[in-house]
């Protein structure tokens, strides 16, 4: 039996190498694909992909023009190459997509390998028009949908969805205007996303890039501007996890979070490196880890993160929402060489689909690290960190004091959707820590531009905390007690 297997794999290897040799370039026009922007090319593009895949693989090249299409399915060993000026244009008719499939998408790939999308061209999902047309069919009763917030919950096509794919290369393209999450890689292995641009504020729920339960994923040198979370790691499957993910040299803007773990966090995250990234004009957190569904977060390094005009600096949170008895954990997060500025006003004002005004009344929220009772967040290092806050909180508008009674009155909110603003007013202006075991502040500068009624740091149920070279700057508040400990101990 094993001999047979060996022969089979040998033949397969041979076939593969022959395939590689045969990899060819094909122009889209060979297959009757039109670039006039009005001819619907779904079937001809699909025929091209199928043909190329069946004939040893290769590149399907699109030159300048507008190529209208519905859902196309990627096949093994095929690369879509969009030359500069080529636009793959999503049909505005929802029926041109693989509706009914969970995660329907303009470019859909499942269980294939050695695939790619390359070139300086554009994928434009025309998402707003698609969503409006979908909504119209829902109102007419043709498509059933429960509606979320008076918007279609299901069937909004993503621009790119890849599931269980190996060896994926996405390079240089621009992806625009999705009706749903813009690009999703779910349970994929060996993925390189390099030098791409995502520009999608077309509709609600436009996550920029979702990395879900992937192994060996690199996101490099990319620019993401999205209506929902910009760069987002998720874990949908409790038996899977995101492992060996590197996010480097990227810039993110978002009407939600800049770089986020979650919200769905069933399995977890391990060995994640987030290096030299910028976040700006972001409504929620610059960096956040949320594990409300039992996911285990281990060994995370955030180095050289610069965030400007972000609604919140950092939010780490364990919850118990859909965890089904499993216990989420965050253990070993190092955040170093970080500079963050938080403004007084709404950071994403004026954008279409800007983040919702919510969880009011509250003054500017502090960065927060919040575990659960008996489930502390463990081993956190903050090294060479500077955070600038606007200050100027008004206790008459929203107030949370620091007496034992007032601190104990802050709800745990374990089952709630984890968001930096979920507690409304918090009692600190720079850091609020609760249920943490092992946290090290080293060379941390916390600046409030105006007077604050709150102390800089409040610790509640925090063990093994150490503060080295922590510098508080608040105008006219020399000698103010900036550190409040409640059921907490500092390491000597």
């Amino acid at each position: 039996m094993s001999a047979v297997k060996r022969i089979v794999s040998f033949v397969a290897l041979l076939a593969c190498s022959i395939g590689m040799l045969q990899a060819k370039d094909y122009n889209a026009s060979f297959f009757g694909i039109k670039s006039n922007g009005t001819t619907l090319n779904t079937t001809s593009i699909q025929r091209a992909i199928d043909y190329i895949s069946a004939n040893g693989g290769g590149k399907l090249k699109f030159y300048v023009g507008r190529y209208l299409t519905g859902t196309i399915h990627m096949k093994s060993n095929v690369t879509l190459h969009l030359e500069e000026g080529a636009v793959l244009l999503g049909s505005t008719n929802i029926n041109d997509y693989n509706v009914g499939t969970p995660n329907n998408a303009l470019i859909y790939a499942k269980g294939v390998e050695n695939i790619g999308i390359t070139g300086k061209g554009v994928i434009d999902g025309q998402g707003r028009e698609v969503a409006y047309n979908l909504m119209d069919l829902i109102h007419k009763g043709i498509i059933e949908d429960p509606l979320d917030y008076d918007r279609p919950r299901n069937n909004r096509p993503k621009a790119i969805y890849m599931r269980e794919c190996n060896n994926v290369t996405i390079k240089r393209i621009t992806v625009k205007n999705s009706a749903d999450w813009v690009s999703v890689y779910d349970q994929c292995k060996d993925v390189l996303v390099d030098s791409i641009t995502i520009d999608s504020k077309a509709f609600w729920n436009n996550d920029g890039i979702d990395i879900v339960d992937c192994q060996n994923f690199k996101l490099l040198n990319s620019y993401v501007d999205a209506a929902d979370d910009a760069i987002c790691l998720k874990s949908h499957d409790a038996s899977k996890l995101n492992e060996n993910v590197e996010i480097r040299n990227c810039t993110a803007r978002s009407s939600a979070n800049g770089i986020k773990f979650g919200t769905v966090s069933a399995g977890g995250y391990k060995n994640i490196r987030i290096i030299n990234n910028k976040v700006y004009d972001t409504f929620r957190s610059a960096f956040t880890i949320a594990t409300p569904d039992g996911g285990i977060v281990e060994n995370v390094l955030v180095d050289s993160l610069y965030a400007y005009n972000t609604g919140n600096a950092i939010y780490l949170r364990i919850g118990a929402r859909w965890n089904k008895g499993r216990k989420g954990a965050i253990k070993g997060v190092t955040m170093q060489n970080i500079y963050i500025e938080v403004p007084a006003e709404k950071p994403d004002a004026g954008y279409a689909y800007e983040g919702p005004v919510e969880d009011n009344p509250r003054n500017i929220s502090p960065a927060s690290i919040i575990g659960l009772k008996g489930q502390p967040i463990e081993d956190i290092i903050l090294r060479n960190v500077e955070i600038v806050y606007p200050g100027g909180s008004n206790p008459n508008y929203a107030f949370r004091g620091v007496s034992a009674k007032e601190l104990d009155a802050i709800p745990e909110m374990a089952e709630a959707y984890p968001e930096f603003s979920q507690f409304k007013e918090l009692p600190a202006w720079a850091f609020y820590l609760r249920h943490v075991d092992g946290i090290q502040f080293e060379n941390v500068k916390l600046i409030a531009k105006e007077k604050e009624y709150r102390p800089a740091i409040v610790m509640d149920d925090v063990k093994n905390a150490s503060l080295k070279q922590v510098d508080y700057q608040e105008p006219g508040k020399k000698g103010k007690k900036q550190l409040v400990l409640h059921n907490s101990t500092l390491k000597k």
Partner: protein
């Protein structure tokens, strides 16, 4: 006597429910992209709901750009958390009545509610330059200050409830009540700094007005009322310095 009242109320409740129909804004073609002007769609929704005996028009999270709207009897506007009615800044987009301008307005109506954690946003910074532009060109003769629209105005209305809604960024006054009665204002954040004289609440000949848990942060006076207006109750209502509103 009280018992009888309760029984009547209890009896009336199920009937009330039959009439209180819920409508989603999207059903009328309203979209929350912050760019599409929804004036006609929202007004059509309000008119239809009122004509059918009343109900609730629900707006969910998003920015609903709209010109001036006239509220009608028995219509509740529910701005759910994150829903924002954004004033279209065009000068001619506001409701004009008796030489004054309003974003949200009602006249001779009753039983009107605006509820929810949403926002009514005046976009003052965009409105004033548009007015100035028209004054400069000579199409409008008055001074800019006298033309600044009030954010929300009620005239000769009864049974008005504003609960939870944030009123922000008004060009002129924030809330104007003229010859109104039975007005309940509660749990509101009012914030507007664009107009130096802009009042938070301006009352003229209005009675049975109650304020509960209001936070009024405006450049002008939090509350201006004439001699014939009567506030029946003020509870936990403050300005940013913590002083109670009087």
């Amino acid at each position: 006597m009280k018992k009888l009242l309760y029984i009547i109320i209890l009896l009336a409740l199920p009937f009330g429910k039959v009439f209180a129909v819920d409508y989603n804004a999207s059903a009328f073609g309203c979209v929350s992209d912050g760019q599409t002007n929804n004036t006609r769609s929202i007004q059509a929704a309000i008119d239809m709901i009122s004509a059918k005996g009343g109900g609730t028009l629900n707006f969910y999270v998003g920015r609903y750009l709209t010109g001036g709207l006239e509220l009608k009897s028995n219509v509740t506007i529910n701005l759910h958390e994150g829903a924002i009615l954004v004033a279209s800044p065009g000068f001619y987009d506001f409701i004009q009545k008796a030489g004054k301008r309003y974003f949200i307005y009602a006249e001779k109506q009753e039983n009107i509610k605006i509820i929810g954690k949403g926002v009514i946003l005046g976009q003052a910074a965009l409105v004033a330059p548009n007015i100035q532009n028209q004054v400069n060109k000579g199409f409008v003769k008055e001074s800019v200050d006298s033309l600044l629209p009030t954010l929300v105005g009620f005239s000769h209305c009864q049974q008005i409830t504003l609960d939870g809604i944030m009123l922000r960024d008004a060009s002129g006054d924030v809330l104007d009540l003229d010859h109104c009665s039975q007005v309940t204002l509660k749990n509101q954040l009012i914030k507007a700094h664009a107009s130096p004289k802009g009042a938070g609440l301006r009352l003229a000949a209005s009675t049975e007005v109650s304020l509960d848990s209001m936070y009024v942060d405006v450049a002008g006076k939090a509350l201006v009322k004439d001699a014939s207006s009567k506030i029946s109750r003020i509870n936990k209502s403050v300005t940013p310095n913590g002083k109670p509103i009087k």
